[in-house]
């Protein structure tokens, strides 16, 4: 506000006018005065309107039978036909179940790990060792999904390094990739491997914000390391944990297309077909545009509801919330 007031009184000289008048003409005046700021924000605004709100307008084809030469607006309305069709197919239940399963499993395994790693790293006094662990564990984050899946396929093949190492300690080789029920475990734990270090950064930052005097005082009072972690460190990073949890639950139905799609093969489809891969195949491969858009919309809406719900719950239970 200071910037505005100064401008008015010193530069444009309208400081002497009474407040009411400024209120009435002030906004228009400020808009004209700051026109260059609007130019700066314009490219982003245009981008969002065309490439984010454009598709939002197009999402109406989920309630229509899309006919290419009639366009989005001209195609006939069919109400909830595509949604009904989706829920009547056998695959719908399987696809929704797979999606939920994969994402809850990922959350259960992948969410606590970075917190644990951060708590462990926080206890390390040797700063060189700490740096080495951090640098190495952050690195897998930068491996692309294609390369990551490539590594999985090579490592877990019958003659791959995982089976070779198993042989060294006397474990019979396993056909990891052709056993469909192993898909989930492979998907989730390679995800943990790739993301645990990077995920710990935010908690390490939160931990470094805790007043060290608290820990020192507790130690003087005879608290053990475990007690200090439980009563000082964990409560200290709890707001961060809750915010991360809200964001994660809000994305529960949006299990990444990229990795699941690349890890899919004809043998594991029973477990690996999730909503996003199903949308891709029905929509772009089979050109069932309206049906695919409906499935996608269902997914988006569930995510949105979950996000709002979790945010509400968190708001009433604790005082941490997104909005």
């Amino acid at each position: 506000m200071e910037l505005v007031n100064k401008n008015h009184s010193d530069v444009s000289g309208i400081g002497r006018k009474n407040k009411k008048e400024i209120g009435r003409h002030g906004n228009l005046h400020k808009i004209i005065k700051n026109w260059q700021l609007y130019i700066l924000v314009l490219p982003a605004l245009i981008y969002f309107i065309i490439f984010c709100y454009g598709p939002m307008y197009g999402v109406q084809i989920a309630f229509k039978d899309f006919i290419a030469n009639k366009g989005i607006w001209g195609s006939p309305w069919v109400g909830l036909k595509h949604f009904k069709n989706f829920f009547q197919t056998y695959s719908s239940r399987r696809v929704i179940w797979n999606t939920l399963n994969l994402s809850l499993y990922s959350l259960a395994a992948g969410f606590p790990m970075p917190i644990l790693l951060a708590l462990m790293l926080n206890e390390v006094k040797n700063s060189r060792f700490k740096k080495i662990v951090q640098n190495i564990t952050y690195a897998p984050h930068f491996i692309s999904t294609v390369v990551m899946v490539g590594i999985i396929l090579i490592f877990f093949s019958p003659t791959g390094i995982v089976n070779q190492l198993g042989k060294l300690i006397g474990i019979e080789p396993t056909m990891f990739l052709s056993k469909d029920y192993l898909f989930r475990h492979l998907y989730v734990w390679t995800g943990v491997w790739q993301g645990v270090g990077w995920g710990s950064i935010i908690y390490l930052a939160a931990l470094s914000g805790i007043d060290p005097q608290l820990s020192e005082a507790a130690t003087v009072d005879g608290a053990s390391r475990f007690q200090r972690i439980l009563h000082i460190n964990i409560p200290g990073i709890l707001p961060t944990i809750i915010i991360m949890l809200i964001l994660n639950v809000g994305g529960i139905m949006s299990v990444g297309f990229e990795k699941a799609f690349l890890m899919q093969n004809s043998l594991n489809l029973k477990y690996s077909e999730i909503i996003s891969t199903y949308v891709y195949k029905t929509g772009l491969i089979n050109a069932n545009y309206s049906f695919s858009a409906a499935v996608n919309l269902f997914n988006t809406v569930i995510d949105l509801i979950l996000l709002i719900l979790v945010n509400k719950i968190s708001k009433s239970v604790s005082d941490v919330y997104l909005w």
């Binding site: 100064k6 981008y47 949308v279 891709y280 949105l304």
Partner: protein
């Protein structure tokens, strides 16, 4: 600091902590290390479990095939184009918008912010976006890859938070009183003071471009435009090699060809990830900084 002596319990837990972290270190590091040594070891020795800690039967056949493959060269070139120009577009759209939104005297700031934030939580989805790109005649053009994702609210928020917390308001006021326009303020005062955030965002965007395959999968069918990741998908995951690529060596039987294919895969992982891994040690702290700024938003 160390006024209080460590108890025995503390010593034991300390020891366990170091052991566990060392274990995590090994589990993370070994796979990366193995890919490197496997890329120039004899595939026969790898498959029989002889290559565990050190490379054996050193041969660079895989790399020779990779370097001689025109598809990989073209993929590499395309990826460089997408990364360089894509990142430039990202910054040109994101940074100015973030600066404008950091100014409290921008009338309508809240409305614009809400319009932007909604895009974080709701989207039209794959098919409506695809149809839009089709209507705009952007399918099968480089523009599809460059423009889609030109900015996103998460990164705008990171940059806006940076501007709000580091640029002294007095400086901006002083400049405006001296008759400096908003453009000049932005280009000659704000930008030079913001190299840290520009570097962070450039790195975020560049890595995303380098690693992206989804956009290319959906919007490109012309192989000449394919980025490296899409070529990699065909070779690493679908195991589709040009027959010529493998046959050029003195390889007469199928078994030999498969072995070379294996070595090519390890080599591909290295060649495609090398640029990021080479700059990683230098840029790592900037990434961390970016995550921290993002965490401070409020």
């Amino acid at each position: 600091m160390a006024v209080v002596k460590e108890t025995r319990g503390d010593k034991i837990s300390n020891f366990i902590n170091y052991i566990l972290l060392s274990l995590i270190l090994v589990i993370t590091f070994y796979p990366l290390y193995f890919v490197v040594i496997a890329s120039f070891s004899d595939p026969a020795l790898i498959n029989s479990g002889k290559v565990i800690l050190l490379p054996k039967g050193i041969s660079f056949v895989g790399y020779r095939h990779i370097l001689g493959d025109p598809r990989i060269a073209s993929g590499y070139l395309n990826t460089i184009i997408y990364t360089v120009f894509g990142t430039f577009i990202n910054l040109a759209v994101t940074i100015p918008a973030a600066y404008a939104l950091s100014r409290r005297d921008l009338v309508g700031r809240d409305t614009i912010t809400i319009i932007f934030i909604i895009t974080m939580f709701f989207s039209g989805g794959l098919i409506p976006t695809f149809l839009l790109m089709k209507d705009l005649s952007l399918l099968n053009t480089r523009w599809a890859i460059l423009i889609l994702g030109a900015t996103n609210m998460t990164n705008i928020v990171i940059a806006r938070t940076f501007f709000q917390s580091t640029l002294p308001l007095e400086l901006q006021e002083a400049a405006k009183i001296d008759g400096c326009s908003d453009f000049r303020l932005f280009f000659s005062i704000v930008l030079p003071l913001s190299s840290a955030i520009i570097a962070v965002l450039a790195l975020f965007f560049a890595v995303a471009h380098w690693n992206n395959y989804f956009k290319a999968l959906v919007y490109l069918t012309n192989e000449k435009l394919f980025p490296l990741q899409l070529i990699l998908r065909e070779m690493l995951i679908k195991s589709e090699f040009d027959a010529q690529m493998i046959l050029t060596g003195d390889t007469s039987n199928l078994n030999e060809q498969l072995k070379i294919a294996e070595q090519i895969k390890y080599g591909l992982i290295i060649v495609s990830t090398l640029p990021i891994m080479l700059v990683y040690p230098f840029i790592q702290k900037y990434f961390v900084k970016g995550v921290m700024i993002g965490a401070l938003k409020g």
